[in-house]
């Protein structure tokens, strides 16, 4: 009875917002945000992405997000940096 997971992803051209952040063209994508969610949490890793071979480098993590739905249903309080998230990382991989 593995807990169902939903994955989504979103590309970015850079680590900070810029004019083409919302809709980067493939050739300009440098980071991909991969999200894994259950009814209890959303865990997102923003990792280096290589558009020339469509590969994501999960050893080059640019940022992370972790929201616990029971205490933060609106996903306002990112606790990624103050929790050990290794198990989430492993699960995502």
């Amino acid at each position: 009875n593995e807990e169902p997971l939903a994955f989504s992803q979103y590309p970015r051209p850079a680590d900070t917002p810029q004019w083409n952040s919302d809709k980067p063209r493939l050739k300009d994508i440098r980071i991909m945000g991969y999200s894994m969610r259950t009814v209890d949490y959303r865990f997102t890793l923003w990792v280096r992405f290589h558009p020339n071979n469509f590969s994501a480098d999960f050893e080059d993590v640019h940022a992370g997000e972790l929201y616990m739905m029971e205490t933060d249903p609106n996903q306002d309080y990112n606790i990624y940096n103050n929790t050990s998230h290794g198990s989430f990382f492993k699960k995502m991989l």
Binding site: N1, E3, P4, L5, A6, F7, S8, Q9, Y10, P11, R12, A14, D15, T16, P17, Q18, W19, N20, S21, D22, K23, P24, R25, L26, I29, I31, M32, G33, S35, R37, T38, V39, R42, T44, W46, F54, A56, H62, A63, G64, E65, N74, Q75, D76, Y77, N78, I79, Y80, N81
Partner: protein, 428 residues
């Protein structure tokens, strides 16, 4: 037993619907569909932007397999010759028809909505679609602008109508033809609203007086949100009314009053969409096909209404990725319908107030990428196999398992849902 399929997909619709518990919205017709359907509370798109999401759920493949993250490649050329859901139904003897926005137009669907692979006849696009981003919004200065907030007098619009009204008319026309020809069909209807511009018949504003509209509960940019995760809502900044506000980039914010006007118009657009869906489902009753047609209602992704200081979609937040998803399956989600019995009588959002409870609700976390296999199973077709990894060379397979196993059709199920059963299938 050869059920037809009516597949309704809405552009940028987050679950602000009565059947999802929203207290403000007036969406009686979609709520009525929900009262006859299994409703999924936790359904998510694989990428919160039009073309990548649509190609993903129509091919049953994730973005990393379609390799479409923007708008500028066609999967059959760029990734693999993947079958699509409508193509599969077509190859199984269905007449497949596309009305409005089902595939995203342009390169990503080969400038043809993947016709002739996916569809039996050339897809229909409402002629007034081409005015969508024209200066048709009358401003306070009495001039016409290309605004974000755009309530209109429909009689003043080009051809005196709007794209989704034309789509509904064409879909009803096709339903009549299918009925007359006794043709088994897969009809996909793609509605444009509430995608921006928020252009809708101005009378729907009356449903949402501005004094009743609040800001998002969390309109600020979260302190620990990584800058890379933030989307700077560039698309709405390019609309005339937003541009005139001279809002700073990237974090804004928009003026509070304008935020409330956007939220007001989004809700008004949802109620306008609800009337179109209501007219379409009422027509299904009229032609006597409600007892033999599966109806799916969903969206390509959600939309931020000011939460986290964000607008539009383009992020991984739940408000941008969570979508409505419900299935009406005659004889399964409702008891069989008597000949001639009306299942979806049209309900006027200006006068209808009764709350309706979904027939069944599942809290299971599910994905749009499962639509292909789920609809194949519901229609009694062979369910495509699970894709190997990688699957670029495999034409027919899916990366999303069927979610029919989460359907539970008995009243008990609804009770158990309320009783906090976290696994309806097991409880049933």
């Amino acid at each position: 037993d050869d059920k037809n399929v009516l597949f309704i997909v809405v552009d940028d619709l987050r679950p602000v619907l009565g059947c999802y518990g929203d207290k403000l919205v007036k969406s009686p017709n979609i709520d009525q569909l929900a009262s006859r359907s299994i409703v999924f509370s936790n359904a998510y798109a694989q990428q919160a932007v039009c073309a990548p999401s649509r190609v993903s759920f129509l091919t049953g493949r994730r973005p990393d397999t379609t390799r479409l993250y923007d708008f500028y490649s066609y999967w059959r050329v760029h990734a693999g010759n993947y079958s699509t859901m409508p193509q599969y139904f077509k190859e199984n003897g269905y007449m497949t028809l596309s009305v409005g926005k089902v595939f995203h137009p342009g390169v990503s669907s080969n400038h043809s909505d993947d016709y002739p692979y996916s569809w039996s006849i050339p897809p229909f696009h409402p002629p007034t679609e081409k005015y969508e981003n024209d200066k048709t919004c009358r401003g306070k200065d009495g001039k016409l602008h290309a605004n974000l907030v755009c309530p209109v007098d429909v009689t003043e619009m080009p051809s005196g109508t709007l794209p989704d009204i034309q789509s509904t008319e064409e879909a009803i026309h096709l339903l009549n033809i299918m009925k007359t020809n006794k043709q088994k069909f897969f009809l996909a209807v793609g509605y444009h609203k509430p995608h921006i511009p928020l252009r809708y018949p101005q009378e729907f504003l009356k449903l949402y007086p501005l004094e009743n509209i609040t800001l998002a509960p969390d309109p600020w940019v979260p302190e620990k949100l990584p800058p890379v995760a933030y989307n700077p809502w560039t698309d709405i900044r390019q609309r005339d009314d937003v541009e005139a506000l001279n809002v700073s980039f990237p974090y804004g914010p928009l003026p509070d009053d304008f935020q409330r006007q956007i939220r007001q118009s989004y809700y008004a657009a949802v109620s306008y969409l609800d009337t179109q869906v209501g007219l379409l489902l009422n027509a299904l009753d009229d032609v006597g096909l409600s007892d033999s047609t599966i109806v799916v209602f969903t969206a390509d992704h959600g939309w931020s209404l000011g939460e986290h200081g964000e607008w539009a979609k383009y992020s991984n937040f739940d408000v941008a990725t969570r979508v409505p998803l419900m299935f009406y399956v005659p004889g399964m989600t409702t008891s069989s319908v008597r000949q001639g019995e009306r299942v979806f009588p049209y309900l006027d959002p200006f006068s209808y107030t009764l709350g309706l409870v979904p027939q069944g609700r599942s809290k299971k976390v599910v994905e749009l990428v499962s639509l292909f296999s789920t609809l194949a199973e519901l229609a009694g077709l062979q369910v495509p196999p699970v894709c190997p990894e990688p699957s670029f060379h495999v034409a027919l397979c899916t990366e999303g398992g069927s979610i029919v196993r989460y359907f539970n059709v008995s009243e008990e199920k609804v009770e158990k849902e309320k009783g906090g059963c976290d696994d309806t299938y097991r409880c049933f």
